[in-house]
């Protein structure tokens, strides 16, 4: 049995007096597609950032068996790729150059190798953005930019992908496209941890669903096990109908359990 691609125990993130992530234990094996859901401010983004090493955290984190603090930064970047929220591009680089940034952890020179070019071309083909290769990224629509951001992460060819709301601002078609890309990555021996807001998409996509609330994992299992009306009421403060669509549970939030929080 190989080491888990992501392992955390006692993981705690504090911002001053506020605890964003509280004593989380998590192990993600190769082949898993793990989706994290939770209310706003539950600590989902902080959990991902701590796993990448972007925010100071206490507890233990290991990436493919190596503790994060002793993992050199370039090697860490070859083991995990992180897709932040928002898909920001500060300069109007050509799409192909943006996707090629995913190869930075592997290259020493400025020129792309054949392997780099292949990875970039495959990532662009998989996300359906090959026809935009030479367009400045800032001229693309929100959905197109989101796919460019996903392509950049895919081009890194890291075993582990941590994605923060990869489907935000995508239409239903490309939500499924992006989810399928990430699922294929997991199926081919990688692992993906994705934060999603859409409970229906999360339930359809996830092999394993985590619910994070007040910085702690309050449920961890298959969507069928985790998505219960009681759990959603306790976590999100919503009354939800759980219906089965083609054998998969779908949660439809219907009303608030109590008065709206101002």
């Amino acid at each position: 049995m190989s080491e888990p691609l992501l392992f955390a125990t006692g993981l705690t993130v504090r911002y001053g007096p506020r605890t964003a992530v509280n004593d989380v234990a998590l192990s993600v094996e190769a082949g898993e597609f793990v989706v994290i859901v939770g209310p706003n401010g539950a600590g989902k983004t902080s959990l991902l950032k701590a796993a990448v090493g972007l925010v100071p955290a206490t507890g233990a984190i290991a990436i493919a068996g190596t503790p994060l603090p002793i993992l050199p930064l370039p090697e860490r970047a070859r083991r995990l790729a992180y897709l932040p929220q928002g898909h920001v591009f500060h300069w109007p680089l050509a799409v192909i150059d943006i996707v090629a940034l995913g190869r930075l952890p592997r290259g020493v020179g400025a020129d792309l190798s054949v392997a780099d070019m292949t990875a970039v071309a495959e990532a662009m083909a998989a996300t359906g953005i090959a026809q935009y290769a030479d367009r400045p990224v800032t001229t693309l629509s929100g959905g197109e930019r989101a796919r460019v951001a996903v392509a950049r992460v895919l081009a890194s060819e890291t075993p582990l992908i941590l994605a923060d709301e990869p489907t935000a601002s995508l239409d239903p078609h490309y939500q499924l496209v992006v989810i399928d890309i990430l699922k294929r990555h997991a199926a081919s021996g990688g692992a993906v941890v994705a934060v999603l807001h859409d409970l229906a998409l999360a339930a359809r996509a996830a092999d394993r669903l985590l619910i994070l609330d007040h910085g702690a994992i309050v449920a961890d299992g298959t969507p069928r096990l985790v998505l219960t009306a009681e759990r959603l009421a306790a976590t999100f403060g919503v009354n939800a109908e759980i219906v089965s669509v083609r054998g998969a549970p779908v949660a439809v939030p219907w009303s608030l359990t109590g008065p709206a929080v101002p």
Partner: protein, 339 residues
């Protein structure tokens, strides 16, 4: 980078280098004493008469070299800061190093320790730039965020400006005050090879530090978090850029006074030619800065005026309206774009 982009960059850099060399040649030929190109060439290789040799080798050559070095380091510093800050409006003066270097030099003049052409002056200016970095780190902390760093830079700049004002205020006599005021304007007039040699090591060190992080600047296109996830230690990179700018720009201020706006304008002119790539823009920006300052320094010798107009005044007169135009064009992004 694709192979075609690599070739385009080579052509661009080659073309800019030819332009800089042509401007340097022009700079050697222009001055109060009219020298025809053959005598300039002869003087350069040790021929011609003694007067022509002195004019070309000891008066005009150091001046032309300093224009290239200072313009180049300003262009490179601007490109590096714009890459780090992901903002085309960033300028080398942002972290306070030029202001602190100016204060260091002015303090020396004011205390009567040195005249404007003495070697104590550049040493004090470079010391001022390095002290400003120390102060910046002290105020902002070693792993400061960009915003804190910018605010701390503003504070350091203000402090240095106050020091300069005090030095002017306490100037022992009106001549010293005038000397300081003129020196602050920025000029390449009457500089010698000693100035070139004093500035060179600091500029070379600064250039090495600034060119170091070209890959990181490209990664920063994706924002700080994505860049960090790609394996770049941003706290270290920020410090490297701050120290590199202080050394490169501080050395320039040390020998020529304050020359503004070249660092802002130079990268802007070449950025579209490298596909807006913040890594590929660095070397062309340096060459474009060298060309700009050399051209400006030729212009001050051609503009008819009582005495020579200072080159720092010319770059500011051209640069400030350019800056205003850039802000107006980017007003929408600046107000509602990414933070």
């Amino acid at each position: 980078m694709t192979a075609s982009a690599r070739w385009r960059d080579r052509w661009l850099i080659g073309g800019l280098a030819v332009l800089v060399v042509a401007l340097v040649a022009a700079s050697l030929a222009v001055g109060p004493v009219a020298l025809p190109p053959p005598s300039v060439l002869a003087a350069l290789i040790g021929g011609a008469n003694a007067v022509a040799r002195i004019i070309v080798l000891e008066i005009r050559l150091p001046r032309a070299l300093l224009a290239v070095m200072i313009g180049g380091s300003l262009g490179l510093s601007g490109a590096a800061l714009q890459g780090l800050l992901r903002n085309p409006l960033a300028a080398p003066s942002l972290f306070g190093a030029p202001a602190a270097a100016a204060f260091g030099a002015v303090a020396v003049i004011s205390l009567g320790l040195a005249g404007t052409l003495s070697f104590v002056l550049p040493v004090a200016a470079i010391a001022g730039a390095l002290v400003s970095v120390a102060l910046l780190v002290l105020v902002a902390g070693p792993r400061a965020s960009l915003l804190v760093l910018i605010l701390a830079g503003l504070a350091v700049s203000s402090l240095a400006g106050a020091g300069t004002a005090l030095a002017l205020n306490l100037a022992p006599n009106p001549f010293a005050a005038l000397e300081i005021a003129f020196w602050l304007l920025g000029s390449l007039q009457d500089r010698s090879f000693h100035h070139v040699l004093i500035a060179l090591p600091f500029m070379a060190g600064g250039v090495v530090l600034l060119l170091w992080d070209r890959r990181a600047f490209r990664a920063l296109t994706l924002g700080e978090e994505a860049a960090a996830s790609l394996g770049f230690d941003l706290a270290v990179i920020r410090m490297r850029v701050v120290v590199g700018v202080a050394a490169a720009v501080g050395a320039g201020v040390a020998v020529a006074g304050s020359i503004g706006f070249v660092g802002l304008v130079a990268p802007h002119l070449v950025r579209p030619l490298v596909g807006y790539d913040p890594g590929r823009v660095m070397v062309p920006a340096a060459l474009s800065g060298a060309a700009l300052l050399t051209a400006a320094d030729i212009a001050v010798r051609l503009i008819p005026a009582q005495g020579e107009i200072k080159v720092g005044v010319v770059t500011a007169l051209i640069g400030a309206p350019f800056f205003i135009a850039m802000i107006m064009r980017r007003r929408y992004d600046l107000a509602g774009g990414e933070p």
